[in-house]
């Protein structure tokens, strides 16, 4: 039988506010345990939560970016359960009325475009961390992460393969970093996914029983976990078994998912509206203001790059992989004609990207500023240097030797386009290579290339190659 895999994702994106969602404590990663937990985070008696407007604003930004509805009123609820890293004994989250509802995300799987519908996105606080090592049989609690703002983004069960789920997750990751609401750092847990996976006979329109795989913090784990889980479910059903609804954990070392708790063991969270917080009201004015401050989104920017700079869709996609790359391109290509823009695009996607990868740094930390790259491309375009020499100039700029003009000047790399000067070199090369001249005249085209090489060498690579060709042919004919 053919099986169809059905996947829905719940993603926790940590919002990039400098303080927590309900307290003034800092959210920076990596501080010594419990140094970023204030009275509210520790849940001392009598303290109260106060909502961070910055977190709400980021949720609004997300909602606008995915074409969702921003609810004018949403409600914070308490999700009650006991755990040592949950100081209040409840998590403040949005339950019945989330701040963002609906919307969708366009993804590309291979070459095929697809739309994934979003159910909702809601604000909530993160829990702390239990540490089970180094405490001699006891556990330590670090509450630095407690109260960190999260946006939980929930999809409809619209994905049909691990590849689609990964494409969605990557697109979402690019979007949340693009609009500046999340730093996207997956190692630090700023972006993590739960996958709801079920299988059904191909063609069926009834959903199978799902299992939820928790806390997948890399795209590779997401892909592997879904693949394993789908295989596991199909095998059970084909062996005549039934799927039990449960929560599972992915073990990357053994590349398998393991049961964590069944539906029967699931907590009754006893959600109810948090009486310490008023309903969250988002006015039209607030939404309008956030809309006015929204950056151009990847899709729109891609389309504009194609229209404005005559880039290919391929280049436009590569240049909009991140907002920093796109900003770099625009800073370098500003006001350029399509020919120059195309060159700028090539230098970024090929040479600069390779260099950045080698150095392991981000484009925002590039050692060649956008203006410097443009200076280089301009000197190629106006014939000051050849494309070949340009690579050396690029290296020199990277090494900190200054602008393209400075490097060209200092190293004397200016292309020789003076016909008289080239003719003089050509004549010297013809005089010194009688055998190859004879070979050429006897019809051996290879000999011509050798003569060109001699001329270029004699000019230290600076002669304009096109002129060298013309003059050499003319001289050899006469």
């Amino acid at each position: 039988m053919n099986w169809e895999i059905v996947i829905g994702l719940e993603t926790h994106a940590q919002l990039s506010t400098s303080s927590k969602i309900f307290s003034g404590a800092a959210t920076a990663f990596g501080a010594a345990p419990n140094t970023q937990a204030c009275a509210v985070d520790i849940a001392l008696p009598g303290v109260l939560p106060v909502l961070n407007r910055g977190a709400v604003e980021r949720a609004i930004r997300f909602g606008l970016a995915v074409g969702a509805r921003i609810n004018p009123v949403s409600v914070f609820a308490r999700k009650n359960y006991f755990y040592p890293d949950l100081p209040k004994g409840y998590q403040i989250s949005q339950y019945e009325l989330p701040v963002v509802e609906g919307g969708s995300l366009a993804i590309v799987v291979g070459d095929a475009p697809k739309t994934v519908r979003l159910t909702r996105a809601h604000l909530e606080e993160d829990a702390g961390k239990s540490l089970h090592e180094d405490f001699h049989g006891m556990s330590g609690i670090d509450l630095n992460r407690a109260g960190t703002p999260l946006l939980e983004i929930v999809t409809e069960p619209d994905m049909r393969s691990a590849a689609e789920a990964v494409a969605y997750a990557r697109t979402l990751h690019a979007l949340v970093t693009w609009i500046g609401i999340c730093d996207g750092n997956m190692q630090e847990g700023s972006f993590r996914c739960d996958a709801n996976v079920s299988v059904r006979p191909a063609g069926s329109d009834r959903l199978g029983t799902r299992c939820e795989i928790k806390n997948l913090n890399s795209f590779r784990f997401l892909e592997r976990a879904i693949e394993f889980e789908a295989r596991r479910q199909i095998e059970i059903i084909e062996d005549g078994g039934t799927i039990r609804q449960e929560t599972r954990l992915y073990d990357p070392d053994r590349d398998e998912t393991r049961s964590m708790r069944s539906k029967e063991e699931a907590h009754d969270y006893r959600y109810f509206p948090d009486p310490d917080l008023l309903p969250l009201a988002v006015s039209d004015e607030w939404i309008a203001r956030v809309r006015g401050e929204m950056p151009e989104l990847p899709q729109a920017k891609r389309e504009r790059f194609v229209a404005q700079y005559a880039l290919t869709p391929y280049d436009a996609t590569a240049l909009t992989a991140s907002r920093e790359t796109a900003d770099y391109f625009e800073a370098a290509a500003g006001g350029a004609d399509p020919r120059v823009a195309k060159q700028v695009a090539n230098w970024i996607t090929v040479n600069l990207t390779a260099r950045l990868n080698e150095a392991g740094i981000d484009i925002s930390a590039s050692r060649i500023a956008p203006g410097q790259l443009r200076g280089l491309v301009d000197r190629i375009a106006d014939g000051t240097i050849s494309g070949k020499i340009a690579k050396d100039v690029f290296d020199a700029i990277w090494a900190g030797e200054g602008s393209a003009d400075e490097v060209i000047e200092k190293r004397g790399l200016r292309q020789v386009s003076d016909a008289g000067a080239i003719e003089k070199i050509v004549d010297e090369v013809i005089a010194a290579n009688a055998q190859q001249v004879a070979d050429y005249r006897a019809g051996k085209e290879k000999a011509f290339n050798s003569l060109v090489g001699q001329v270029m060498k004699a000019s230290k690579g600076r002669a304009n190659p096109q002129q060298v060709n013309e003059i050499l042919r003319r001289r050899l004919v006469s």
Partner: protein
Amino acid sequence: MLNLTVKQLAAGLAARQFSSAELTSFFLSRIKAMQPALNAFITVDEEASLAAAREADRRLAGGQGGPLTGVPIAHKDIFCTRGWLTTCGSKILSNFVAPYDAHVIERFRDAGTVILGKTNMDEFAMGSSNETSFYGPVRNPWNRETVPGGSSGGSAAAVAARLAPAATATDTGGSIRQPAALTGICGLKPTYGLVSRYGMIAFASSLDQGGPMARTAEDLALLLGAMAGFDARDSTSLERPAEDYTRELARPLAGLRIGLPKEFFAAGTDPDVARAVDAAIAEYRRLGCETVEVSLPNMKLSVPVYYVLAPAEASSNLARFDGVRYGWRAPEYADLADMYAKTRAQGFGAEVKRRILIGTYVLSHGYYDAYYIKAQRLRRLIAQDFVAAFRKCDVIMGPTSPSTAFRIGEKAADPVQMYLSDIFTIAVNLAGLPGMSIPCGFDGSGLPVGLQLIGNYFSEARMLNVAHQYQQATDWHARVPPGI
């Protein structure tokens, strides 16, 4: 000094008739002497109090005193007080020294008042008799075999016995008004949101409100001025301009319309209480007030509604007391679940556990709609009854409590009987309205009776005027318990 009001004490301090240190020593020695008999305090720290008094004296000497500088005040042990043990009447917080001040404490410290001590209370403010305190019951100064009411029984007894000229308290379902009535003093529960809940240990967040206890309405006005005010740390705190709550005290009452809800005067109220309340209303008529009958048809639902909503919120609010980060932890346990179970089973008293169980139940899957949602709907109906009533009157009056102080142990075994002692006060919390209790007479055995005033939202200044004018014409509030 014994019978001087806050206002008179402040005047005496300003005129240098006595120092704050003298005043504070006077009350500290009274507290010490009466503690075995009344058990009104959980914590007293004479050194800290006297140091604060001396500091207040320096401020007064330097001419930097405010209207309350140097006045000693007792605080209910529900308010976190920096450097002071803050137990909320519970074993589970028996070792908790607060590292910060509640907003109310901060305000009183800023005003230059001196902390006399932390008063006894029902555990987590759950009780109407002060018998649920881990630190033992408080006794009523009028008759030590009877309860002082609750949950602010320690504050009420302290003010009634002249161990403190005034005290802070909190009111979730009547915990300021009912003990004020049972001990013959004045208590005010402000409009919800007027006094910040920051640092006030939560029982039922949507109902809890701090307020003052004192012997006169005028003192309440002074104290409320110090307590009330916007606090950004409490999202339910209301941003309103500061008010002088004494500004209307002298206003004549002619033309005031007093609403008398027929539900407050039905059978079930102790005849002595009814008689005293009727007499008080007659006095108001003499002062030129009109009375109109109003109806609060849904008030009869207030006790069941309250005992769904308050425990629901409490079950969640008290989840943080888990023995993990602070507070008392069971000495022996097998694993994490056992640590939680033993800590909470041994750390909480029976009434608190009863309410946590009720609250957990009503929020559970499958019961939530039938209990919690329904109770919220009824809560709105109860509030609407008051809105309708206030179209016909300026203030509502009736008894604060259906009976006078009952004997210690009398209702302890019957929670429903105990809950019914708040039948006249609970609706006010559900509606978020201001309510007040002032002394209006005595029953046949010499126990005080309280008159309840309920005002419209933010009408505290007017209510205080209504109470003050009555106290200009009567002296019930000035009576002293026997042997004090």
